[in-house]
Each structure stands twice: as C-alpha cells, then as structure tokens.
C-alpha cells in the first residue's frame, strides 16, 4: 500500500524534505506498528520514533497506540514540537 508522509517543522531537515511517498507492507494495526515499519524502511527513519513528535493521520492527531485502518493514499504527518506565538 502506498501512503503519503508529511513532515512539519525541524523534522523536515532530518527527513530531507516536507513530503515523500512510502510503500508499506500489509495493514499495520496501530500507529506504533506503522512507525516501526517506517523506521526500518526510510533513511533517518529511526527519528520518527522520537516521543516528542506528534503524529496526524489525514489531518487528525492520533495517539501512537491507536488502532489504524489505513487506506491507499492516506496522509501521515509527523509534527515537530509546536512553537507558535
């Protein structure tokens, strides 16, 4: 299955850009399982497991132990700590 990855904030520099597509095997049952798979597949992917990153699925923040029902083309956003104001 092909999904879209988005990176917001400083994580962009570590991952080499703001967006990339990724092929994943099967249908990971939880966000944690998806992140573990991406960590193995992507250059610099280990960093995706950092606790301080927040993760959104199709623009909704999701807990890492949440169950997933991914579909082709879903967007997974990794968000560096926010620094507004």
């Amino acid at each position: 299955m092909r999904i879209e990855l988005e990176f917001y904030g400083p994580i962009q520099d570590r991952m080499g850009g703001a967006r990339q597509a990724a092929e994943i095997d099967g249908t990971p049952a939880t966000l944690d399982a998806l992140v573990a798979q991406l960590a193995q597949r992507l250059d610099g992917g280990d960093y995706l497991q950092a606790d301080h990153l927040r993760i959104a699925v199709n623009d909704r923040l999701v807990d890492r132990n949440s169950k997933l029902a991914l579909a082709e083309g879903d967007r997974i956003a990794f968000l560096s700590p926010f620094s507004g104001g």
């Binding site: 917001y8 623009d59 923040l61 968000l79 620094s83």
Partner: protein, 152 residues
C-alpha cells in the same frame, strides 16, 4: 452571549483594526490584550512562521473555545500571522473581554501560553541566507502545562 474571532493570515496584522473588531457593549467591564512582536536581535533579518494548512485554525479555535468557557468571557479575539516577518512586526494579537479584570487578564495569559505549545506553528529565524529552527523552550512548556494540568 459569547463571541470568538479567530484570524490566521499571511498578511501583516492591522492592530488598530483588530482592536475595533470586538463589539463594544455596556456589560464589558474589562478588556485585556497581548501582542507578540518579532524581536530583532543578533542580526535577525526575518522570522518565518509555518503552519499546518488544515490543523492550525481549528487548533486556535479550540483553544479559544476553552478560554471562553474557562474564564466566562464575553468575547475573545485571536489573530496569528504566518509567513515571513521583519523584526518589529506583530506575530500574534489576543484580546479578551470579560465583566471583571482578573478573568480578562488570565484569559489572555492562558491563550498565549497554551497557543505556544498546542497550535501547530513552527518558527525559523533567518540571518541573511541562514535559517535555524526555533524549538519551544522549557519555559514555554512549563507555562503551558500550568494551565493544561488544571484543565477540566
């Protein structure tokens, strides 16, 4: 009757216009505001704020709705810039209206403290052609958590 106004814009904030945006009613006893500006220092040429195109405005609205209820406000305005700003330009403007001063003052403090760590914005400081990301500080996290830990 409560009134929440949220503005997220790539244009320079027009502070005089924003200050006139909320209705002036007889029951308002206190108006408090906060404006954050780009602090020019150490050769800073610009501050760039990026945001999430779909998540940032709802996050600001959610923070505002909680503040309205928590402090029993009559009105709250949150205006936030994104894009590239020069030193001195306003980044964020918050106005709270309440019957009493404490509620208005606390609501403004709450909104800016929580916004800093809970609204999806990211800052980069530019000095000539060099940019560095600005991470939230421990102080930012402590000031937000003092409110969030007591949120009901």
């Amino acid at each position: 009757m409560t009134d929440l106004r949220v503005y997220l814009t790539g244009e320079r904030l027009d502070l005089p216009a924003l200050n006139k945006a909320l209705p002036d009613t007889e029951t308002v006893g206190a108006v408090a505001s906060f404006t954050g500006h780009v602090r020019g220092s150490d050769g800073l040429t610009a501050l760039e704020l990026t945001h999430h195109p779909a998540m940032t405005e709802p996050a600001l609205r959610r923070i505002g709705e909680i503040a309205l209820k928590r402090f029993a406000l009559q009105a709250l305005l949150i205006a936030h810039r994104h894009g590239r700003m020069a030193p001195g330009e306003p980044i964020v403007h918050i106005i709270a209206q309440a019957p009493q001063r404490r509620a208005a003052l606390d609501a403004v403090a709450y909104t800016i403290d929580v916004l800093k760590t809970e609204a999806p914005f990211w800052k980069r400081e530019w000095r000539s052609d060099n940019a560095i990301w600005i991470e939230p500080t421990i102080t930012d996290q402590v000031e937000a958590s003092q409110w969030l830990e007591t949120e009901t």
